[in-house]
Amino acid sequence: MARDRDDSERLIAAVAAAAGNERPLVICGRGSKTFLAPPAVGSMLAVGDHSGVVDYRHDELVLTARAGTPLVELRRILASQEQMLAFDPPMFAGDGSLGGAVATGLSGPGRPWYGATRDAVLGVTLINGRAERLVFGGQVMKNVAGYDVSRLMTGAFGTLGVLLDISVKVLPRPHHEATRVFDVDRDTALANVTAWARTPLPLSATCHVDGVLHVRLSGTEKGVRAAAAQVGGDDLPHSADFWDSVRDQTHAFFSVGRCYRVALPPAATYPAIPGDWLTEWAGSQRWFRTDATREQVDLAVRRLGGYATEFRDPRGPQPFDKGALKYYRRLKDAFDPKAILNRGRLFQEIGQDAVTEASV
């Protein structure tokens, strides 16, 4: 059981102290995704104790919880009402918090159909770099009052604010699910998936790995059965284990070698570089194990209209749009003028340089 504890006063005081003496802070939830980005510099700000569900009404499809709440706990609570976190965030090493899931913005196998983490985020309470407690968004589905700061926080790796409370849209668990498997090569798999994705089938996940295409169908019992008959293939029993292993990267594919996360237009062909692929999201998210250099991968993927990141222990600059960096720095400055929050975790060279630029 997660502790139900409001630790926000201590966190605000810690940020205020850090802002006062300009000492940067490294925000740490449960530490399960530290490997995703270069380390920040500074002393640790542990938010894991700021934990517990603040509000959950299943008929509103909204859950509000403190950032340190373990994902496993949220999944348990939602399952008791036949609901789920639709963005299905990964739990690396079985762990992870809601705040960490939102700060890193990763989504599970159902992403093209159920939406991304940022799609589910409805509101946040955060501490900015001035140690102000700010509330953006809310607990309702539709809200266009003010800039969408809640979604801006998603995937910002804690560089714009310390997340305190987060409201997310949740969804009913599908009444029925089936996974169909097909022995096909990756190009055939991609062609089939592309054709299916263009038709109104109740798809909810696809994954091609080791010569096998997995297609998950979700919906009502009759609906899933009819769709299964339409796509063919064989039934995969106990398929939830398989999808969890892809989501949490406990699948054997992820156990060896350097691995890139490759985001591509879904129907894009595979780059002609030797290596092994695991392809999800109807082709939009692919994992690539290769001995090729980072530059080779980057170039080939860019040519196809996508981008690649080295997933674990990324080195070198992130593949940002060049023109955007100037505005990233100004945004950082707008939220965290002393650059005390997760400095260096998303991009380098913030600080004095950025302040000068933004005061133009």
Binding site: E132, T154, K222
Partner: protein, 489 residues
């Protein structure tokens, strides 16, 4: 702050030098159509209107405005309901309607790449022969443009299941005031770095000019079925909304109309709605044939359990369209009840629907202004239509005051002052009740990151702290503002 340039013909000359003659409008009669958007109660003659035909021309217009410190007000199709495109008397109104090319429909990648002036519905029309469509369907979708949809984060009848604009846009090209072209996202489902896509969506033209939009296309559902249920009380209708959702079904749309809206719609188009009902719900399901069969049986069961006095389901496509007719004609139908109406747009938690509708009834009696409710019940997105007569002394002011009270009520029950229409100029005062000073200041700093001289659509979307102090809605802690040393703007 901004130089007053209303008499400065040199700026007009500069604009004429970079644009074809027919793209610069200074003649008062020709400018007249641009003095208001969909919020017709708010009018302001623009100083000059420009209608560029290329992205390069847009870039040049921004340069001229930046160099001369002239405010820029972007405008799409002018259907917005919150005055977001209200012109500045000393600024350039930048109309983007001529950037109206569909650049690409890519059925395999399920995207459309379009210019900002392309009409919302035109995207679905262009994608239809591939079996695909663009999901967000604001009621103005015949006329409204995708650029405006991005600026407002527009919703529609089907966003309960398919989301708002922000959930359906994959990429943007944006020009900032400083002339930088940002490529945000594209045909991939995500992009590295800050989520500028979410930030620009719904930013009401305050951060930059959208010059290209990549939207996600979805397969057209195989089957759609519309169900109608009548109820003897608002409470029963509102309760059914929560019950349908709680049963594990996400309808494509879930709409509610109250007795006045039903009567108006019936008198106007005769869709066959039960006029003796206190409220009706319209629940649309879509999906595969089997899916819809199973779920509609379930929805009908819930409706009956919730004491619906009458329940029916569409038999075929023609029947479904007939049944939608009254809902789709509801706004113009209500428009026949009074010379003017004022459309509100608050969102509340669904569980508070009945309570808030009752409170609106009370306000209606108190102000002596009738209200019709026709709205997106599934999202909790209310659209109370306050009926008034602009020619009767004081009625507009009364309607606006009552509207302000309704929005304050939405905030008080945990909702928001705008679900899909935007803040524009209309809800600036209501924003003071929803956000505290530090949050408003954060918004202003965020804007300054993209628009340091604050020339982009000035005075919209986020109120100044001074304004909030005046309307008395400011959250003042212990008698003083936070950070008194900070400049107020």
């Amino acid at each position: 702050m901004n130089a007053v340039v209303a008499n400065d013909s040199s700026v007009v000359k500069q604009l004429q030098a970079i644009l074809p003659a027919h793209c610069v409008i200074t003649d008062p009669r020709a400018k007249k159509p641009f003095e208001t958007d969909g919020l017709t109660a708010v009018k302001q003659m623009p100083w000059v209107v420009v209608l560029p035909e290329t992205v390069e021309q847009v870039r040049s217009v921004l340069r001229v405005c930046r160099e001369n410190r002239v405010p820029v007000v972007p405008r799409g199709a002018g259907t917005g309901l919150s005055g977001g495109a209200r012109p500045s008397s000393d600024g350039v109104l930048l109309g983007l309607s001529k950037l109206s090319r569909i650049i690409e429909i890519d059925p395999d990648n399920r995207i459309a790449r379009v210019e900002p002036g392309v009409r919302n519905l035109a995207i679905s029309e262009a994608a239809a022969h591939h079996g695909l469509y663009y999901a967000p369907d604001p009621s103005s979708q015949i006329a409204c443009s995708i650029g405006g949809n991005v600026a407002e984060n527009s919703g529609g009848v089907h966003c309960l299941k398919y989301g708002l604009t922000v959930h359906n846009v994959l990429g943007l090209k944006v020009l900032t005031l400083e002339g930088d072209e940002l490529t945000i996202g594209g045909a991939t489902l995500d992009s590295p770095g800050y989520d500028l896509l979410a930030l620009f969506t719904g930013s009401e033209g305050m951060l930059g000019i959208v010059t290209e939009v990549t939207v996600r296309l979805l397969p057209i559902p195989a089957t759609k079925r519309l169900m109608l249920a009548a109820f003897a009380s608002l409470e029963a209708a509102a309760g059914t909304v929560g019950r349908i959702i709680a049963s594990g079904i996400i309808p494509a749309g879930l709409e509610m109309m109250d007795a006045r809206a039903i009567a108006a719609a019936e008198a106007f188009v005769g869709a066959g709605y039960p006029t003796d009902a206190a409220a009706i719900l319209l629940c649309e399901l879509d999906g595969t044939h089997d899916e819809v069969e199973e779920q509609s049986a379930q929805v009908l069961r819930v409706m009956r359990t919730q004491q619906a006095t009458e329940v029916r389901a569409s038999r075929d496509e023609a029947d479904r369209e007939r049944m939608w007719l009254g809902r789709k004609a509801a706004f113009p139908a209500v428009g026949r009840l009074a010379p003017d109406y004022y459309c509100m747009d608050g969102t509340i938690p669904r569980a508070r629907l009945a309570e808030v509708l009752r409170a609106i009834e009370k306000l209606s009696e108190q102000y002596g202004l009738a209200v019709a409710n026709v709205f997106h019940a599934g999202d909790g997105n209310l659209h109370p239509l306050i009926l008034y007569d602009a020619n009767a002394a004081g009625e507009l002011e009364r309607a606006e005051k009552m509207g302000g009270e309704i929005l304050a009520l939405c905030v008080a029950v945990g909702g928001t002052v705008t679900g899909e229409h935007g803040v524009g100029v209309e809800k600036l005062d209501s924003m003071c009740g929803q956000f505290a000073a530090p949050e408003l200041e954060q918004f202003h700093r965020l804007k300054a990151a993209f628009d340091p001289p604050r020339l982009m659509n000035p005075g919209k979307a986020v109120p100044t702290l001074a304004r909030c102090a005046e309307v008395g809605g400011m959250h003042v802690h212990k008698g003083k503002l936070a950070f008194p040393e900070i400049e107020r703007f």
